[in-house]
């Protein structure tokens, strides 16, 4: 039993992704600096255009009516699309291929010839992906603090920190969902595409739900509904229910993944 707490598979998973971690981290730091850095040059023209006709056409973005403010701009340009969608796709892709890759590539046979349980494989693959996210998460936060200071915009860094802390349960849910798909689907591309479809689908659902109060209920089916970066950045207002939703979903996906993986045949084609 104590073997599980040695986390050797998790450590190996971490090592396997160190290059990806560095690349994605740099990418997101650059992205953060670029978008935030663009704001001063856009600010005036956005304010000029900022009549209700204009921002209503952006209604499918959260808090589009605030896009002329620094926090609104960051939410719309950086957090909503690049953080909560693109980054989720990128690291979700890795999670969804984590176990399916071993089954498709048949390395699962040799891995499981060791005294490791299937549950352990599921947990350790999950744990092994967390450090990658933490590095990307806090490096991006630091880059954002740097550029905000450099361009002299005002941003509550305490709130920024909360956004990045609360990004953790959101991304753990994405990982956990990815791993669940990964134990069900044997082909890594297929598994990843399914996860990406779900993430994009949820993004679309959330966008639709923003269009009209009639559609609001659709948003409940989207992760994005439970994580409002604007409200946190602007006023430090935290959606406690959302945090619980993410924690419960993470645990649920992990448990289902463990049970399913435990019971399935690992056949080789």
């Amino acid at each position: 039993m104590n073997d599980i707490f040695r986390f050797k598979i998790a450590i190996q998973t971490m090592k396997n992704h160190w290059k990806t971690t560095i690349i994605v981290t740099l990418l997101f730091m650059v992205m953060a600096v670029m978008y935030a850095g663009m704001f001063p040059s856009f600010e005036e023209s956005i304010i000029d255009m900022m009549d209700s006709n204009f921002y209503e056409s952006f209604n499918f973005f959260p808090h589009a009516d605030q896009m002329h403010t620094y926090v609104g701009f960051l939410t719309l340009e950086l957090y909503n699309i690049f953080w909560l969608l693109i980054l989720a796709i990128m690291i979700g892709f890795i999670a969804a291929s984590s176990i399916s890759k071993e089954i498709e590539g048949k390395t699962i046979d040799i891995l499981m010839s060791n005294p490791v349980s299937r549950k352990q494989i599921v947990i350790e693959k999950f744990v092994g992906l967390i450090p990658m996210f933490l590095v990307i998460n806090f490096a991006t936060m630091m880059a954002l603090i740097g550029i905000t200071t450099a361009i002299n915009e005002s941003l509550n860094y305490g709130n920024l920190f909360i956004v990045h802390i609360l990004s953790i349960p959101y991304f753990l849910t994405v990982f956990s969902l990815g791993i669940l798909i990964s134990v069900i689907i044997d082909e890594k591309m297929k598994a990843s595409i399914i996860l990406i479809s779900i993430l994009v689908g949820m993004f679309v659902l959330n966008s639709i739900s923003l269009l009209s109060p009639d559609y609001e209920f659709i948003g409940f089916f989207s992760f994005l509904h439970y994580f409002d970066t604007y409200m946190i950045l602007q006023s430090g207002e935290v959606d406690v229910v959302g945090i619980f939703v993410f924690i419960i979903l993470t645990i649920l996906f992990q448990v289902v993944a463990m049970i399913y993986f435990e019971r399935r045949d690992i056949a080789i084609s």
């Binding site: 040695r6 048949k106 046979d109 040799i110 499981m112 010839s113 005294p115």
Partner: protein, 339 residues
Amino acid sequence: MIQKSIMCPNCKNKFTVEGNPGEKVRITCPKCDTSGYFYFPKEKPTSKTEVTVIETKNLSKFYGKIKGIENLTLSVKKGEIFGFLGPNGAGKTTTIRTLLGYLIPTSGEALILGKNIKDNIVNIKRNVGYIPGDLNLYGHLTGKQFLDYFASLRNTEMTLLDELLKVFDVPLDRRIKGYSKGMKQKLGIIQAFMDDPEIVIMDEPTSGLDPLLQQKFYDFLLDQKKKDKTMFFSSHVLSEVDKICDRIGIIRNGNLVALEDVETLKSKMGKIIKVKIKEPPELFKGPKNMKIKGEWIEFVTNEDIDYWIKLLAKYTIVDLDINEFSLEDIFIHYYEGQT
């Protein structure tokens, strides 16, 4: 007290002496009075009590409606090399993968080292090594990184690692991606044996090894056998099974059709008699299984060699050949009429 019949070196008189194993007895020949000492041989370590280390009871695995294996009952004893024979697709790999918990049995059960695979598979794997048939290793790791990773997962001492690396040298600092098939196979062998497990289960382990390495591998297996380790070995290469296995199981279409000592199996099968006679071969009235191949008469006989030889003596024999069944013949025998 055991009795031993001895012969006097002087007068060639035969008589019996009594004594205990390991005892030195002074004896005198009753006939010529020559005397000397007789040493009773020490008792051989009592033939090891046969411990079953792998046991399957009516083990079946169906993939939906497709049969993988059906009602497989076999046992492998400690210290033996068990050969598991069958052509491709007969169910060898399914058996091994079910035994090792990759596939969940449809019915029946299996015990390894006395533990049920159903709820003890992780513990079982502490004492069982495995070389998969379709061996795939982590290409992005170097040989050394791979072995280190697996050593850390096993979390025990790698007592055989150095010896294995001497026998099966692999470029440890190169990435496995760049390995040849033979190198990968060697690495597969190393990882399976490096912590000197009680049992090693191998799915066609010699594929990809050149004849020289195959020989090294057989020698290594025989050394392990001397240390009372058990090896379960699937193969379709009969010569290697003949060379190293103590017992074999033959699987056909998912069913076990033979389970026997290799020598017993051979003697049970009888002898193949091939004979050429001067007279037209049709004249000879052989057993039912007799075949005429050109000038040669060919048939199999079990206990009545004497009868057939005497019958043949009535003809003019040009050439005669009596052979034991080879494993090849046995195998073909079990597969006759099968595609």
